[in-house]
Subunit: 522 residues, 2 copies
């Protein structure tokens, strides 16, 4: 069955060229000895840009950002079970974002596994829970076919990260066979019957509400959402969505509140909840005596498909079936005045609204400061906003790195908490090496501020000195300007709104990576 031209391919070469044939154009890598043949295979594959990351969580966060912007999965290169675990938190986040991603995990040669060498681990066991699909290419002849399978599986039924384990001997042996070019499964459509029941349910509801994510947050999805809004359906996004088009000229849905009690008060009286591209909203955490499911008592829930569904098409079909011809108004451009005085998250948002160029990309891992920066940008130039979806902080900088490499003609802005940024600070080095056009804004409050809020909300009592220490990341205060420049990213600190506005204007004017340490109240 082998193409005669392919007979001298190694397994690694067959894997890499299969992914390239299928349109994979980036590999975020942290290789080790067992991946050396993959490294040389990538060396011979000009269609894939290889990006070295100094920590695996950077690689997977970047692969997520790359795919959210390009629509095509990136591959990662991870070193056995330990490398997979280092990569794991951002794979979790990517899973929650329903981002296609192909994690290629090098393993020991198959005959070596039985000897239990120091790096041996149960990779299938470790990676299985966070993989939409997982297989090991235990025979060199299978590497290409499994690469095709992995590529397709990353698109669904529900898109997400897949794991392809490549034992070292399957990589180094000759006899690799290129896999097929596959057509990834398309997003599903909801049936006419489902649309009809939704129309009927809406017509019978006093206060219908629609929760959206996925392709519903694209420009066309939001056009349909604006029609539903005009027809009397309240439209909200998930609190933490994958990617949304927003800004001037775009309809802005509301956003689900983070805190359960606020969300429940806000939804009070809603008697119908439709969900498209998502699932019924759930409190991020449980709290004593507070609800988990954020659906009011007596409110019916109607499922219009998960992230494997084309929810933009769902919304358009629903609007058509309702005969919704009008649209709710879109946002107008509003360039605010330069902020003045103390630097706050809101002032950061104001400056962003002033300086973000058209078609910018925002990676938001701003934690307790995210929301106040989010609001003022609703009337900025049109842009794409990406959220931390899975709650594992430390995604913002890697996500921005990947997004910037996927869209080199666009400016990427990263918002990161200081606590969040520390998990994956190594992303700065890859930004510098690749000269990624990312302006990173770190909210420096020397605190896990969100935890100070959560400590109170969980009723865990008044914090004593030990507890306070556990929630403070001051003492010593991290010098983000030094940290950033140590890895090659020029940086500045701003302690006033005026200084921030100036630093942001400058960072955006110059291509390439920059960091601004935005000192905000703790």
């Amino acid at each position: 069955m082998a193409d005669p031209q392919n007979e001298t391919l190694t397994g690694a070469e067959a894997l890499v060229s299969t992914l390239a044939n299928n349109g994979v154009s980036a590999c975020f890598a942290n290789p080790g000895t067992s991946e050396m043949h993959l490294v040389t295979a990538l060396d011979g594959e000009p269609r894939i840009r290889s990006v070295l990351c100094l920590f695996e969580g950077v690689a997977t966060g970047a692969a997520d950002g790359y795919a959210r912007i390009s629509g095509t999965p990136a591959m990662t290169l991870l070193h056995l079970g330990a490398g997979y675990m280092n990569a794991g938190a951002n794979i979790h986040n990517a899973g929650r974002a329903n981002t296609p991603m192909i994690n290629v995990i090098g393993d020991h040669a198959v005959p070596h596994l039985r000897y239990d060498a120091p790096l041996t681990s149960d990779i299938v066991g470790l990676a299985g829970p966070n993989s939409r699909w997982i297989k090991s290419a235990n025979r060199v002849g299978d590497t290409g076919a499994l690469a095709s399978e992995a590529f397709a599986a990353s698109f669904g039924p529900k898109p997400g990260p897949v794991s392809l384990i490549l034992p070292a001997d399957s990589a180094w042996l000759e006899g690799g066979i290129e896999g097929e070019k596959v057509t990834p499964p398309a997003l599903r459509s909801v049936s006419k019957a489902q649309i009809d029941s939704a129309v009927e349910a809406i017509s019978n509801a006093a206060k219908p509400v629609l929760i959206i994510n996925g392709t519903a947050l694209s420009e066309t999805g939001l056009q349909a959402a604006a029609r539903l809004k005009a027809a009397g359906v309240r439209v909200l996004t998930d609190t933490f969505y994958t990617k949304m088009r927003r800004g001037a000229g775009v309809f802005a849905p509301e956003r689900m509140q983070y805190f359960a009690e606020g969300a429940m008060a806000d939804l009070e009286g809603s008697d119908l909840m439709l969900t498209a591209g998502t699932q019924p909203p759930v409190a991020f955490f449980a709290y004593p005596g507070k609800p988990s499911l954020l659906v009011p008592e007596g409110c019916d829930v109607l499922d219009l498909g998960d992230a494997g569904t084309d929810s933009a098409a769902t919304l358009a079909a629903l609007a058509d079936a309702m005969g919704a011809k009008e649209s709710a108004p879109v946002e107008t451009l509003n360039v605010p005045d330069a902020p003045t005085g103390d630097l706050t998250a809101q002032a950061v948002g104001q400056s962003l609204a002033r300086h973000m160029p058209e078609n910018a990309i925002v990676s938001d891992d701003g934690v307790s400061n995210g929301l106040m920066s989010y609001i003022p940008t609703q009337n900025a130039q049109p842009h794409d906003w990406m959220m931390l979806t899975g709650g594992a902080i430390g995604m913002g900088m890697p996500l921005a790195l990947g997004a910037a490499l996927a869209a080199q003609d666009r400016k990427t802005i990263c918002l990161s908490g200081d606590g969040a940024g520390m998990y994956t600070n190594q992303a700065l080095w890859s930004m510098a090496r690749e000269q990624a056009d990312v302006t990173t804004i770190v909210f420096v409050n020397h605190s896990y501020r969100i935890l100070n809020i959560e400590l109170y909300r969980t009723g865990a009592g008044n914090p004593g000195p030990t507890a306070k220490d556990m929630l403070s990341i001051g003492g010593p205060d991290i010098d983000w300007v030094q940290l950033s420049t140590s890895m090659g990213v020029p940086a500045a600190e701003a302690t006033t709104a005026e200084a921030f506005d100036e630093a942001l204007a400058e960072a955006i004017a110059v291509p390439g990576p920059r960091l601004i340490a935005a000192v905000v109240p703790g």
Copy 2:
């Protein structure tokens, strides 16, 4: 059954006080919302020192170092499945070191799990493969009993990391009951019959060799090893052992070579291999056409117990049974002259031999530079040397942090590659906060140098530009002095042997954390 005094304990309090009652004295923590009640429980427990780590891999590496020095497991505090994965690589390493460790993993409240909130994950699935024991305290009344069970399980049958999952409601509810104070299982002894067969096998062997790890590397273990050596048994340690006493006055066994071909050449002709506190040696990685098991053809293997066995006692029993009265010579103190000229790993080792104070602790994650620093210190003041056991680089600085906190009257030296150090650079911040008495030496060669060697050895071909980029961590060069000072650890760079010697003398003279960027050839 509850002690009336305990009836108002929360589950978190019962867990924490049970561990404290059992002698746990340190908690390395990176908490989140689901761990708030654990944080306040730790706040009320003066017997446990809580240490905040800004990345979970720092927490588990530090817990490993703490236990290697104190002999008692530390607890960690991790935030759900994502936190566990961030912690995972150093848990893997600790497993390979057979270090007892109690990982307490916060989870969502049990009734919250079914709603699949963003941070929900299959923690048992993720953590199971790297846990000697794993249970979830799904009822508040069980938290204390399971803490006792976890403590005992961390000691064996084979010591290592255990996972205790604590759902948030089991933490916050009242009704916690303190668990028992348990006697950890003692290390096992080998039988007289095993010793007798070993004696007989040795008497019949032409070239017997003994591979040792575990307690055989303690001072008493090495005294017994010296007797066996004098009686004609060649004694080698594992290439990467957990902890060994070495230096002046101590018998120095040989060390297994890292590269398979070197090890096999070295062992040629050995006809009997005894293993005590370890398993038969295995090549770290597989290479095309090279052996995996590092046991010569025709060499018999005799197992004298794994890491769950007291191998110091095994060696003493064996030496007694052989009537071995003489001892091989111990090392003599040799303070070398100050090194001069270009800075090399060997010069670093020479300076260490000059300046390391008596009873220092070394954490070795020096990768390609480790060995050349190791050799000259064989004649230094007596000290303990700890290795990276599981091959997941990024352990050195966290391990040094934990060791230093376990032995505050001793100096800890950390040797780290620059590539290795980047995985867990956040350890520097915790060193600064805790004023840990650690001198960190980073070998700066701007390269994954070991991979340049391995690329050649695996026969992966000549590296082109992409492959070269994947193995180089220069471009941009990381400024380790800035990186270190950004997190509060004073630092200096040395590019000559003279400058290094001076910087090391100064760092060792002053208590508290210091870093030296030792620029060595790439």
